[in-house]
Amino acid sequence: MTQQAQPILQVRNLVTRIGGKRGFGNAVDDVSFDLMPGETLGLVGESGSGKSMTCLSVLRLTPPAATHITGGQVIFDGEDLLRKTGAEMRGYRGRRISMILQDPMRALNPVLTVGEQIFESLRLHRGLRGAALREAACELLERVRIPDPAAGLSAYPHHFSGGMRQRVVGAIALAGNPDILIADEPTTALDVTVQAAFLDLLKSIQRQDRLGILFVTHDFAVVSRMCDRVAVMYAGRIVETAPTDMLFDRPRHPYTESLLRSVPDVDRREERLYAIPGQPPSVFAPRTGCPFAPRCPRAMDRCRQETPPTRRLDDGHEVSCWLHEE
């Protein structure tokens, strides 16, 4: 892990506004992180914390009617994607930055063959035609460990199981040789055994291609297996970022602590399951101070009034909490 490398993706102060009849709010509220080539950054949080919105915002695919990216920068390979035109942005999607989604059962078009859906990306991103197209598609399917790729090309999605479909989605994502893969809870809908195999596959591809992976999940087991670094999100903000073992051993933010504590541990016999009291705030509610303050067991007055800045600690942690402001 070389320290001199430049991050392939730098997100700075990203703000995505969401609104409609129920009001307005920031689904992504001043989010910043770096992704290095070849590393996996986990994005963890409860549902509604803004993880998916963040991913969609990077690709500028947030629902146009209800959302609007209002601030910040998304610097990919030296260029700010937020300043790109629609056409330029399309050039990045699938080719430099790919995305895989959560539900493999619905991710593929049911009326087109698997082959056609892979060909589409190959044609668009690599300009292949004819026999070269088929060859490349077979190679991709082999890479994602689909047995009998040639037959797979003419098959339809419903012929595949969930795990296999997710691999196909992976193949499509790799068709353009991207630098970054954004994975939005790709294993949540899979069986545990299938999960493990898929994560293995992902890791091996990452090593081969030096792929940077932004991995969204709410499952800490997956985090420990997959991620080099983790960013914890709450109410649209990143409250803590750290290398994975650091995060598990010495969580610095009260929210991270509570999250880790609420994961049931078979080794420790607890009297009762720990659940964080209260609810995450609605995205439409007005914000003052730290968003976790109402539920934080260590909240101080200052927490409720001022939003803590993000501070880098010496052990590689970045935290946003008044407890660490001296």
Binding site: L59, L61, R90, G91, Y92, R93, G94, R95, S98, M99, I100, L101, Q102, D103, R106, A107, L108, N109, P110, V111, L112, T113, E120, S121, L124, H125, Y156, H158, H159, V169, I172, A173, G176
Partner: protein, 304 residues
């Protein structure tokens, strides 16, 4: 797959038989079926002969069998009006009706496909309102009246198009326009709601992440899926389309099967009417059968 086809075929034949039975029973129930079939100037002797030959004094079941026997041999009786065999008259006209129906369907698809897609893509805004307004108007307009108004404007006042009959392409314009108009309203609504559903799907999101241009996402990925219920609808509605065809043929003097059926009503020419109804039913059943089979072509999930 062959099993599916066979079972559908059997169903189709059953429907045909049931229809013929219904028509048969209705004819027999009108008091004196002989009067329906014989010319008004038939002598009592001719009547008696006919009654005996057709077995009208025999039990109903037997009569039906006689009817079927004759039908299978292609004998559907003779036109009261012209004296020619009913089959001759009917089969002469069928082709024109099918042509008109196809032209009307083509016009309908030409209008409703873009409107339905646009309405969904621009939901809540201009195109959507226009399409929905159009659909509402289409469903509220009686086809026969629209035909008359168009004839008035384009044939009588402007003299751009002919008002009736067959001939060159000019004769197709107004009738297929009216037919298409009346069908398209339903299609626009259905396509719009179907597209809205499909555009929400995961695979559409994924298609965008692949970097595909929006028109490709909409027309290649979304529409193919959204059309599935529309095809079913069209197959389903074919009976209605045919019925609209009858009225339009009458208004435009289009010498097709519908016009023949209408004329035979005026002349009380029952044998011709009976055969017309049966042929219409056969066409509808045939189309439904084709739609069922082609379903597998459109939606690969059915094929297994």
């Amino acid at each position: 797959m062959t099993r599916l086809i066979l079972s559908r075929l059997v169903q189709a034949l059953a429907t045909l038989l049931v229809t013929s039975l219904i028509v048969f029973v209705l004819a027999r129930s009108s008091g004196s079926p002989a009067d329906l079939v014989l010319p008004t100037d038939a002598t009592p002797a001719e009547r008696a002969l006919y009654i005996e030959r057709m077995g009208l004094d025999r039990p109903i079941a037997e009569q039906y069998l006689i009817f079927l026997r004759d039908a299978v041999q292609g004998d559907f009786g003779v036109s009261i009006r012209t004296g020619a065999p009913a089959t001759e008259l009917v089969f002469d006209r069928v082709g024109r009706t099918l042509l008109l129906a196809t032209a009307g369907l083509a016009v309908a698809l030409l209008i409703s496909l873009p409107l339905g897609v646009m309405a969904a893509v621009h939901r809540g805004r201009g195109w959507d309102r226009f399409s929905m307004g159009f659909a509402l108007l289409g469903q509220s307009t009686p086809a026969f009246w629209l035909g008359i108004v168009l004839i008035l404007i384009f044939a009588v006042w402007l003299r751009w198009l002919p008002s009736s009959g067959v001939g060159g392409w000019q004769h197709y314009v107004l009738p297929s326009l009216v037919l298409g108009w009346s069908i398209s309203a339903g299609i626009v609504r259905l396509l719009r709601s179907s597209m809205l559903e499909v555009l929400d799907a995961e695979f559409i999101k994924l298609a965008r992440t692949k970097g595909l241009r929006e028109p490709v996402v909409v027309w290649k990925h979304a529409l193919r899926n959204a059309l599935i219920p529309v095809v079913t609808f069209i197959g389903f509605m074919y009976g209605v389309i045919i019925a609209s065809g009858v009225v339009i043929e009458v208004v435009f003097g289009w010498p097709g099967l519908g016009y023949l059926a209408y004329e035979s009503t005026l002349w009380r020419d029952f044998p011709v009417l009976q055969l017309s109804v049966l042929v219409y039913t056969a066409i509808i059943v045939g189309i439904n059968f084709l739609v069922d089979v082609s379903y597998g072509l459109i939606d690969p999930r059915i094929r297994t």
